[in-house]
Each structure stands twice: as structure tokens, then as C-alpha cells.
Point group: C2
Chain length 178, copies 2
Amino acid sequence: MAKRSYPLAKVYGLLEPGPVVLLTTAGKTRPNVMTLSWLTMVEFEPPLVACVVSNRDYSFELLRKSGECAINIPTAELAQKVVSIGNHTGRNMDKFQSLGLTQKPASLVGAPLIAECYASLECRVYDTRMVAKYGLFILEVVKAWVDTAVKDPKTLHHRGKGAFMVAGETIKLRSKMK
Amino acid sequence: MAKRSYPLAKVYGLLEPGPVVLLTTAGKTRPNVMTLSWLTMVEFEPPLVACVVSNRDYSFELLRKSGECAINIPTAELAQKVVSIGNHTGRNMDKFQSLGLTQKPASLVGAPLIAECYASLECRVYDTRMVAKYGLFILEVVKAWVDTAVKDPKTLHHRGKGAFMVAGETIKLRSKMK
């Protein structure tokens, strides 16, 4: 995917529809990637995102220690890899290598970006007050990359137990909403 | 919609795909309804949901004062109403009456359920620690109602400025994920 720098003010439009994302983190020996559906926008600009990562996940430790991650948004052709990522732990496996995902260096954080995803958001941990109780991290998106040639991305939306709704048509209504 | 009681353990499957929802609250003179896209699951069971309501919204006061709300999930045929709800404030308008939405009494909370929505979740405010800084409420879903005849709901997913992705087909992959 030929991703370009994307305005931070427009990041909410990528996450508001509720796609499954792939969260990447840097590690001492190798980076990791996890599948995540529990996230929401919290502020438009600078864009803040709340995401929930269980303390049973290997990514939890990496996110806490590094204070950085990237949110990568996959489309439907990556569905099988999205499930495989969610079904394996990175504790004893290099998921990038075994699943054939291409790492690209980020510009501002240590976590890698996933080349095969149409959008990648570089994030820094912004607020950890809700981490102990809920695993809820507030992240600040500090840099965004999008392949703007992808007009209506066929994002994946998890309905549970491996069932995903695939993004359908986009309709446009007159609205004053942001 | 003929909604029936729905297991709390399955609520995450309704919200994980990221639909736009209609948040209802009770008020002294009349209830209110707002359009909301900023929410995520936080815990499976009891189901906890984080949602962001701006302190500029009339619903913010009602949610804070009552400590209760309902999350109603609309489908595509309600798109115009969803936009109208988002474009008006309930401070000086009865949105239910002017938009022709039917209120149904909830079983455990004072906020009304919207009959035209295929799913409604009765919620109590569970944690307000992030309200002052982010408008982020943690809600506990205490009762769920779903029209289970609606198999693949054509939910709306906001892309910004009145553009909505409408839920497309559902694909099923073998997965150990919940």
C-alpha cells in the first residue's frame, strides 16, 4: 500500500466506523502485533483514542514498557491473517514472520507499521489512569499514514467468534455533524 | 421491532462492529436522545462500555444527574433520523416527538428505549473518573433487548460529516477468539 502522510484532524473518520485494527508494539527482541476491536475516539485534535488491552495479552507488557504503538487498519483480504494474529500469542512466536506481514519503520515511534494495511496511526500512550482497573489506555495519535487511493475501504468489523461484518456501501446525508 | 430479552454475555457482539448508536436519557420534563459513535466495549461480563459524551451536549447533564441511559442501535432505514438527532439539541426540542420516534419503557432504568431500533441496552453509570477530563463514562449494561429476527443488521457506521458506511455481508472464519 502506498501510504502518505494524512492530516491528524481527519483521523477520527478512520476509526469512527469501528474497524478491527492490528496493534503493533516494539519489543526488546522483536515487535509484536495483536488483533483489537475494543477502541474508540476520545478527542478530535490532537486525536486521542481509548483502547482496551487485556493484561493477559503479551502486547500489554510491551505497550506499558515502551509507551508507544501503532494502530494499523486492515481490509477484508487480510481477514485470515487478522484471525491468525488474534489466535496466537507473540510470547513465543514472531507473528510478522510466520504470517508474512511486512514491517515498515514508523517516523515517530518504535513500533513498526504494517505495509499491507491501508492506514497506520503512530501513537504514544497519553494517560494510564484506567490501565490497572480496565486495561484501558488513552493514546495520542502523533502521525497518520493512509493510502488515499483506497476510497471505500472494505474494513472488517468483528461480530464475535470469528464472524466479521465487511464494510458495505457508503451513503452521504446532509449533516452539520463533524 | 419485536425485541426480546438477550443474554448479557452476548452484548459485546452487538457493539464490537462499531455501529452508530442512539443514547437515550431521562430528564425532569422529558427524555432526550443523542447520536453517538464514540464508544467501545471494556469488559465482557458484566458488560462494561466506555462512551464519550461532550459536556457541551444536553445529554451530558442528563446522564450525569440520572446515572442511567439506554444505548439503542439503529439500522439504515433510520439514517435520516440518526442525522437529525445529531443535528439538534434537546435543550429546546422534544426530539422523540418531532422526529416520530416511539418510546418504550425500560425495565431497570428511567431512560426510554427506542421501539424503532433493533437492539436496546439498559445501562447504569459505573465509573465517572474519566468524565471531567474526557467526557468518558464507563457504563454497565444491566439489561439487553434484541429483535433476534434481524440476522445481519444493516447498522450505520459514521465516516464523518454525514457519510455512513452501511454494514455489508458477514463472513465467518474459524477462530478461537471470543
